[in-house]
């Protein structure tokens, strides 16, 4: 049964049907929260996402079979509320994510580039960063990211294009600076 049908059932006297939606998407939504705000915050915020989604399910467009983009949109709102009382953005550090057993020079090169990339992502306008990270981290299409963010698909595509162009430019600058330092 599609997510859309389960949500419809949950609105017709079977609210418990919504629990299956949660079971389908809880790992993905926790991963999103964890990538953006850290593991502990994800643990704390996940229940809030479910309660908000359950309360807002009447607004779900039953034309969509997959509830994932809609849930990401709700999770993003929960994150925004969280960030207003905590740090503005969370990105894991390269030290936490890079494979420590890689060949040493590759690792150092990647770490430098990863650090430059994190710095570049931080500099992006939040509207562009949101689209980029939904596509790159959550494997969403630009159209799905548009649903999550409540924007037109064309807007999502142009923001993604601008974000990638800006990252290319900032990384090229970082590479040039790195090369200058190594001379």
């Amino acid at each position: 049964m599609t997510d859309g049908k389960l949500i419809a059932r949950s609105l017709c006297g079977e609210p418990e049907a919504f629990v299956e939606i949660v079971e389908r998407h809880e790992v993905a939504i926790h991963g999103y929260l964890s990538r953006r705000a850290g593991h502990q915050a994800a643990d704390d915020l996940l229940g809030e996402v479910w309660v908000r989604a359950f309360g807002a399910r009447r607004s779900y467009d039953s034309g969509y079979d997959d509830a994932r983009p809609w849930l990401y949109g709700i999770a993003r709102n929960v994150l925004r509320a969280h960030w207003t009382t905590n740090q503005p953005i969370g990105l894991t550090t390269p030290e936490e994510t890079l494979d420590p057993w890689d060949e040493i020079t590759d690792r150092l090169d990647s770490a430098v580039r990863a650090r430059a990339l994190i710095s570049a992502v931080r500099k992006l306008p939040s509207a562009e960063r949101d689209v980029l990270l939904l596509v790159a981290w959550e494997q969403m299409t630009p159209a799905e990211a548009a649903v999550a963010l409540g924007i037109a698909p064309g807007t999502a595509r142009s923001r993604l294009h601008r974000a990638r162009a800006a990252l290319r430019h900032m990384l090229a600058e970082a590479d040039a600076n790195e090369a200058e330092v190594r001379k």
């Binding site: 809030e48 479910w50 390269p94 990647s110 990339l117 990270l133 790159a136």
Partner: protein, 86 residues
């Protein structure tokens, strides 16, 4: 380097940066418990609406709300006890 190749590198590097560990089963279960409380609340509200005369509910709104919370907690507790691994 051409832009397509650079986009691929950026995507790969972002994937590495975005890697996180899986959630613990306790964290997922705790979050589901929060949802179950809301689900139970709605079920009880719907049940109240079906079984109580409208004027009776209007006469005792505070008592009804309190009873709902108590019933919700009771039902959530029953659900927790019935959950596998609880």
């Amino acid at each position: 380097m051409n832009p397509d190749r650079e986009d691929l590198d950026i995507t790969e590097l972002l994937s590495v940066i975005g890697q996180v560990g899986p959630p613990s089963s306790d964290a997922l279960e705790d979050a589901r418990e929060v949802l179950w409380s809301a689900v139970t609340e709605e079920m009880l509200s719907a049940n109240d609406a079906r079984t109580r005369p409208a004027e009776h509910v209007a006469d005792q709104p505070q008592q009804t709300a309190r009873q709902r919370r108590q019933n919700s907690s009771r039902q959530t507790e029953q659900h927790r006890n019935a959950s596998p691994g609880a």
